[in-house]
Structures are given as C-alpha cells and as structure tokens.
C-alpha cells in the first residue's frame, strides 16, 4: 500500500502547485504509516523528478511516451489508474488544476473511489474515518467531507499547503509503462497555444498578484499595474468588466466566473469589491485594497488599505518596492 501523487511537469520542471501536492501526499503517507510514490505527467525530466525527494517522495514513476507531454484526459487517466494498481495505492493526490481535477473525476469512477476537489488542508484520519476540508460556495464557506470509499482521491487547491524542502533527499526515478494505445489519445490536442504571461508568471500559480479594475480608467494606464507587478515578481489580473471591454485578455479575469486565485498577496487597484469578484480572490492570504472611495466594499475584505487615487499611489508603491532591494 502507498499514497500515489500525480505531479504535473512543464518544460522539464515539476510545477510549483505539484510540489505542494507532493508535500501533501508525503504527509498523508506518513500519517498512514506508508510511503509516497509520484507519477509524472507533462514534459518531465528525470533529473528534475529525482528532486521530488525534497518533498518527501520516495519513488517516481515516469512513462517516457512523448505524447504524454500535452494534456490528454484519456491517456492520463489510464496511466494513473495503472500506477494506482501497481502501487496498490489507497489515496491518490493531485492538483486542483484544470488537468488534475479533470483526470480525478474520471479516475473516481474507474477506481470506484471517493473524490474531493478544492481541498485546502491535510486530512483528518481517525480509525476508518477519513475527512478532508474543501472550499465551497465560491470561497464563501468550507465543507468537511467524509470520503467513505476504500480508495480516496484528493485534489489539492493551490497555495493552501506549504511545500516541504528537505534539501539533499532524492527520489528514485523508475521507468513505467501503461501500455497506452492510440484509442487512449482520442482527446489529444491538435494544437497547444500558450499565452504570453506578463513577466512570465502564470496567474493561477502566482504567489503574488496585482489586479486592476475599472478605476484604472483604460488599458493605456496598465503600465502602472505592470510596473508594480514586475517590481514584486507578481502576476497581473483584472476584474470582469475590464476583460469584457478588452482592456485586458479574458485569461486575466478573476472572480466567480473567471479564475480563482489564492496567492499570498493580492493587491486590488480601482476594484470595488463586488461579491462575484471576491469569490475569486477571498482565499488570498493577505489582501491589499487601493480605492479612492472609502466606502468601497472591498475594504471590508482587506487586510491593508489605502484610500487614495491609483494614479498617485501605484507609482509610490513601485518606488518603495524598488528601494527595498
């Protein structure tokens, strides 16, 4: 028996969210008195996979089939199911990403497992009962969910678990084949288009986000957001109306009907804080609000605030970050 962890890789490196997933899996394994094995998907490199030892992973299974580089739901599901059987895994941990959650729901049926997505904490295992905490109602609540199936699948929300770093530990990388056939690649992409990310930081993975709303007045002012983001090493985001009128691309829109982010730091500039916007950002660790209206609802959800004009405040903040060194 072991815990199986699914790690997503990109350009030869394990994604940050998967380092969190690996650390989660290793801690569950410890609770259950077993070890954690990882199975890699995406564009992985063996040398990088070995470093998963730092997150507490003992062994990594790696199928070098080149078509696994891109996300294919059918093939990924079969690969992970095969790894589960080989390892006799009872708990499977993956990222609550568009990839991880999509694969998780297929696996739940194939492996007759209980599934929880959007999980924010380590489980509570007590005798035969196994409970996880997950976000619900678009960040407005949490639910403790009992996973009663003999097998359990957990999709872990980004930035909710601290990644472990036990320097010097290495994992053993093993070749693995799930004997995939062409039929498993029925939903293989014809083409993959990656967006240019501002400053190269992926919004869903970012641990700092600078976001702008209608108060920014127009796309020509976005350099103020970008300058601060660059100085902080943050990703940029926006409110829905901003992407609706094409000031910014759709993939930057956060909120109930956009991307959900949970960075350590979310800085909202000229955003009123409508409930649908908050739904996408309210699990951020620290929220900073800059708004000229002291009555803006966002201040109620904020940790720090400046009542002021973004055109005056933003350059001062960027300057102050640069001075920090």
């Amino acid at each position: 028996m072991s815990v199986l962890v699914v790690v997503e890789c990109d350009k030869g490196e394990v994604k940050k969210s998967s380092l969190e997933v690996a650390s989660y899996g290793a801690q569950v394994a410890q609770m259950l008195g077993t070890t954690a094995t990882a199975v890699a998907v995406g564009e992985a490199s063996e040398a990088n996979l070995a470093t998963l030892g730092e997150q507490g992973i003992t062994k990594v299974l790696f199928d070098a089939e080149p078509r696994l580089k891109d996300f294919v739901n059918g093939a990924y599901t079969k690969l992970i199911a095969a790894a589960t059987e080989q390892e006799q895994a009872k708990v499977i941990v993956l990222a609550n990403s568009n990839i991880g959650a999509a694969v998780g729901s297929r696996l739940a049926i194939r492996l007759k497992a209980s599934l929880a997505t959007n999980v924010v904490e380590l489980p509570k295992a007590n005798g035969s009962s196994f409970t996880v905490k997950r976000g619900a109602f678009s960040g407005k609540a949490f639910a403790d969910v009992v996973l009663s199936g003999e097998r359990k699948i957990i999709a872990v929300k980004k930035n909710s678990i601290e990644a472990l770093h036990n320097a010097g530990q290495t994992a053993q990388v093993q070749a693995f084949s799930a004997s995939l056939s062409d039929a498993d690649f029925a939903d293989a992409p014809k083409q993959v288009v990656m967006q240019d990310q501002a400053g190269g930081i992926l919004l869903p993975e970012a641990d700092k986000v600078v976001s702008g709303g209608r108060g920014m007045k127009g796309p020509e002012n976005w350099h103020l957001i970008e300058d601060l983001a660059k100085a902080l090493g943050a990703a940029t985001a926006c409110s829905k109306p901003v992407s609706d009128v094409d000031w910014r691309p759709h993939h930057e829109h956060v909120g109930q009907t956009g991307i959900t982010v949970s960075p350590n730091l979310y800085i909202a500039c000229g955003i009123s804080g409508a409930i649908q916007h908050l739904a996408g950002v309210n699990s951020s660790k620290v929220i900073v609000v800059i708004n000229k209206d002291p009555e803006a609802p966002f201040f109620k959800a904020a940790d720090y605030g400046i009542v002021g004009d973004v055109f005056d405040v933003l350059p001062k903040l960027t300057q102050a970050v640069k001075e920090l060194g």
Binding site: N98, S105, I109, S148, P189
Partner: protein, 246 residues
C-alpha cells in the same frame, strides 16, 4: 443532433451563505435560486448549434426536487425544447453523474453539455464522471465549441493556455466563457415554456460516495489597517516586516 444540457439550481451569486443549525446543510430560507451561471453558456451554445444545424433538439436535465422547476421552466423559456427532472436531492457529484449518465444513455443524446462547475459545490466533477460512466471523452473546461457534422472542435483551457481538441460525438463538454453570450428569456419564450414537456423521472443507481459532515464559514477578517495615501511607501514596509509576504 440531440443535445442534452445539464443545469444545476444554485443560490444567486450575491447570496449571503448560512447553514442549518447542525451545519450539515445550506440554509435555503429566503434565498433566490438561479440557473448555475456556467450552465447558461452550455444552454445557449446548444441552442445556437441546433439553430445553425437547422434541426435537432435541446433537452435540459436537472437532478433536483420540485423547487427547481421554476429554473427548468426558465431554461425552456430561453429556448430548450423539453426537460427532464430527476426527482431527488442531489447528494453528491457521483450520485448526480449516475442519473445524468443513465438518462443520457436512455435518450441517445449526441452531445452532453454542462457548466464548468456548480458555483455552490464548486466540484468540477460531474462532467468527468459522466464521460467516464458512458465511456466517452469529456472536454473540460471548454471556452469554444464548434460542430462540423459529427465532429466537434473545442478549445480546452489549461493553466496558462489552451488546447485545440477535436472529438467525435458522442462526447461531454463543460462550458465557460467566452463561448457565447448567454441568452435571457423573451416574452414569447416565457409563454411557450409553459406548454413544453417537463418529464419527472425517478433516481437510479447507487447512493453517494461522499458526505458533508459539516459546513463552516471562513474566519472573520481582523479588519483593515489603513495607511494614509501620502505615506504609501509605508505599506510596502508593513507587507515585508509585519505580513511577511514580500
């Protein structure tokens, strides 16, 4: 083509969330329920594709008790042809997926469209489960869906980009913006919706695979610390030394 659109009935996006005294259930008292916003993309796109093909049907399906019927009627008013309500409280994603898979198979639908996720449960689960139960592909979440004969071209959002995917019917897709501009009912739609068929059927299959032990509200925020605009730089020092996030 036969389209099946699965809609869930959720609290309006502005609802203040509260629970029953034992914290086991959402407190529905006084809450306005709407069609899950993501499912509106699925519904409108199905209607558009049917119109473009010049033939076919759009059926909406909901797993829910009688109180969901106003929103099923709303979907009919927007342009669905008929509706199925599986008469049961939606216990969990597995329970719901079994109902959808069963009635989808029985009705022989070509394309099954859902929303990206329900905004109450935030599962992102039902579409994958239905695809797996039926042994057909699920493309989730889809930002674009076009049909050419039996073949669909979809844009699937992945972190940081998109994949262009081609699949043949039957398939499941879960929809999100910017797929289409969701339609709202017009007067004629509302009138005709009253007489469109709404079939109530019984639940099938096994029970749920998960159970909510307790709901909780997030801990209250401490309250905002305001920094005067003239001293904006102070904020950065606080973020480093006090909040320790930069």
């Amino acid at each position: 083509m036969k389209f099946l659109v699965c809609i869930s009935n959720v609290p309006d996006t502005t609802t203040k969330i509260t629970f029953t005294p034992d914290n086991k259930e959402f407190n529905k008292a006084g809450v306005q329920f709407v069609i899950n916003p993501w499912d509106e993309y699925a519904l409108t796109r199905a209607i558009e594709l049917k119109e473009a093909q010049g033939s076919g049907t759009v059926t909406v399906l909901n797993v829910g008790e009688a109180d969901t019927e106003p929103n099923i009627r709303k979907a009919l008013a927007i342009g669905a042809d008929d509706a199925i309500r599986v008469n049961a409280a939606p216990k969990d994603a597995y329970f719901v997926a079994q109902q959808i898979a069963h009635y989808a198979k029985e009705g022989g639908y070509d394309v099954i469209l859902m929303g990206k996720e329900s905004i109450d449960y935030n599962g992102f689960q039902v579409h994958g489960m239905v695809g797996e139960l039926l042994g057909i592909p699920t493309v989730a979440p889809a930002m674009k869906l076009d049909m050419n004969g039996n073949t669909a071209t979809l844009e699937r959002e992945i972190e940081g980009g998109k994949e262009i995917v081609e699949v043949n019917a039957p398939f499941v897709a879960s929809c999100q913006q910017p797929m289409c501009e969701p339609r709202i009912p017009n007067m004629r739609g509302i009138m005709t919706a009253r007489t469109k068929p709404l079939k109530v059927v019984d639940a099938v299959g096994e029970g749920a695979a998960t159970e909510v032990a307790e709901y909780q509200l997030p801990p209250k925020k401490q309250g905002v610390k305001l920094i005067p605009a003239e001293q904006a730089g102070e904020l950065i020092k606080l973020l480093r030394n006090e909040a320790k996030v930069i």
